[in-house]
């Protein structure tokens, strides 16, 4: 049965971001930080547009409420 790959891509990127932040937070070796930051940035690139849209939507809703 087909699955929604668009959603799955975002969910996977969200998960990768969470893993990356955990790895960075638990990182003891400065030499490994670059790899974790890189994977976090790559995940962020995937969902950046969606995050921006949500921020714009929230701003729009808050704007409506102010009006």
């Amino acid at each position: 049965m087909a699955s929604n790959t668009v959603t799955a891509t975002y969910v996977s990127a969200y998960s990768d971001l969470t893993k990356a932040v955990e790895s960075v937070n638990n990182c003891k070796d400065i030499d490994e930080v670059a790899n974790f930051v890189k994977s976090g940035v790559e995940a962020y690139q995937v969902c950046k547009e969606r995050i921006n849209k949500v921020q714009e939507m929230i701003a729009g809703i808050q704007g409506e409420h102010k009006d």
């Binding site: 668009v6 959603t7 969910v11 971001l17 990356a20 960075v24 937070n25």
Partner: protein, 463 residues
């Protein structure tokens, strides 16, 4: 004087009703006749007493006698169970056909029954409040009835009351049987075991045609659609009436076809308000089966918090109202994005902190190294200075010793100077260029040179 030993029916013209009433006659609403009750003086009612006529009785008289007999046999209303075979509600009046079925499903007894006006309205209202749905064909009911025999319409029952608890029990038993079947076949778990969506970009909405009650839902989700975050594909279906089950199943089938071409995250089945009594239309096996076979999780939000329908039981997630479904979808999309943003910010912050800590540590290390090197240098210089002093001291000492030794040697040397020795009477003997300090050292040339303080001379030697 004749005292009435039983109720005696009277033929009273309308104009004379007050007169018989004063004489303690009573009104039989079923027979629509006045009668002299048992124990009264019959002579008072002589002019209205129905006399037995000569020849065959009229049909109305026979029916009247039947009515009297039935009334006597069943003086008070009686509860009986029956099934509604037909129902016709016209204005404030209800007309029924009640049946009793035998074990083989055949009609064992059948009778017309009716209730009128305010009484029927009250009975119906009480039933709806108690059972949660209106009177309908096929329902088993416990009715309080009394016989009604009229000359014009014959035998029927007047409904004095309907016990909603009896029917409720029947409906509940029917629903329980349905739920047991769904449970036995695993239909209640099938959709719940589907992948639970963690975000939403495409959702199918199955809702009634009338969108009036869904205003809040669409208002909540339209920002998601407008922002391009999630698409909502709508399918219409009736949610009440005989077609409800089939139309909902068809809508699920259409949503499944859409999913195969343009995958969905969830199918939402919502009903924007409406009577709680109409929930019964959603208690259908086919709906449960369609939900169980749906390709993605089904969310139910049919606007009723308290009672679970079969749809709710089979659904992957049950939400009480459409607004709760829209709130869940919206909050999921927003919270995912907000968390992702927080995570990304945390990565930046943590990485910067980590790098700063590392740089601080490196600087500290460098500083420590510099300090250590400086200390070491000072230490080495101090050691070198010490060594230098020691060396100078020892050199001085060695020089002094050498000078002393030299002085001694010089004195010695001075003492053993050959010229000085020659002056003291010693001579130097040479044979050729070699000194000959002893006789044995002579080479045998026979000529030697003797040096004195004041000069040299040759001498010859032999054996």
């Amino acid at each position: 004087m004749a005292i009435a030993t039983e109720d005696t029916y009277l033929e009273v013209p309308f104009a004379e009703k007050d007169k018989v009433k004063r004489l303690k006659a009573r009104w039989d609403s079923t027979m629509t006749k006045w009668y002299a009750p048992k124990g009264v003086e019959l002579d008072d009612f002589k002019e209205w007493i129905i006399e037995a006529t000569e020849g065959p009785a009229t049909l109305s008289t026979v029916i009247a006698q039947m009515s009297i007999a039935i009334s006597r046999a069943m003086p008070a209303p009686q509860w009986c169970s029956a099934e509604i075979a037909e129902i016709n509600i016209s204005g404030a009046n209800g007309y029924f056909s009640l049946v009793e079925m035998d074990g083989q499903g055949s009609v064992a007894a059948k009778v017309r029954a009716s209730a009128f006006g305010a009484k029927f309205t009250a009975i119906r209202q009480k039933f709806i409040e108690g059972v949660g749905t209106d009177l309908a064909v096929g329902m088993k009911v416990l009715v309080l009835v009394k016989p009604n025999v009229t000359a014009k319409y014959g035998m029927s029952l007047m409904i004095e009351g309907i016990d909603p608890n009896y029917t409720l029990g029947g409906v509940a038993a029917q629903l329980k049987a349905l739920l047991d079947r769904i449970s036995h076949e695993g239909l209640h778990q099938a959709n719940k075991s589907k992948h639970s969506p963690h975000d939403f970009t495409h959702v199918a909405i199955i809702a009634p045609n009338e969108a009036a009650g869904l205003g809040d839902f669409w208002r909540d989700v339209s920002p998601l659609q407008d922002a391009g975050l999630c698409r909502f594909s709508k399918f219409s279906a009736q949610f009440q009436g005989e077609r409800a089950g089939a139309e909902i199943c068809l809508a699920i089938e259409k949503a499944t076809q859409l999913h195969n071409a343009d995958p969905l995250d969830a199918i939402v089945i919502i009903r924007g308000g409406g009577a709680a009594t109409d929930l019964a239309w959603l208690n259908q096996y086919d709906i449960a089966k369609a939900v169980a076979n749906a390709p993605v999780q089904v969310f139910s939000g049919i606007g009723h918090e308290r009672d679970d329908t079969v749809l709710d039981v089979a659904a992957g997630k049950r939400f009480g109202t459409p607004s709760k479904v829209s709130a869940y979808i919206t909050s999921t999309v927003i919270s995912n994005a907000v968390k992702a943003w927080d995570d990304f910010s945390n990565i930046n912050r943590s990485a910067n902190n980590l790098i700063k800590s590392a740089m601080d540590a490196a600087n500290n290390k460098r500083q420590n190294l510099l300090s250590a090197a400086e200390n070491k240098t000072h230490q080495v210089i101090a050691e070198l200075n010490g060594l230098k002093s020691l060396l100078a001291f020892r050199a001085d000492k060695a020089c002094s010793a050498a000078q002393t030794e030299l002085r001694v040697n010089l004195t010695t040397l001075m003492t053993i100077d050959p010229s000085k020795m020659l002056g003291r009477g010693y001579a130097i003997v040479r044979e050729g260029s070699q000194h000959a300090p002893t006789k044995a050292s002579l080479a045998g040339s026979g000529v030697i040179e003797i040096e004195f303080e004041d000069g040299k001379m040759e001498a010859r030697y032999g054996e």
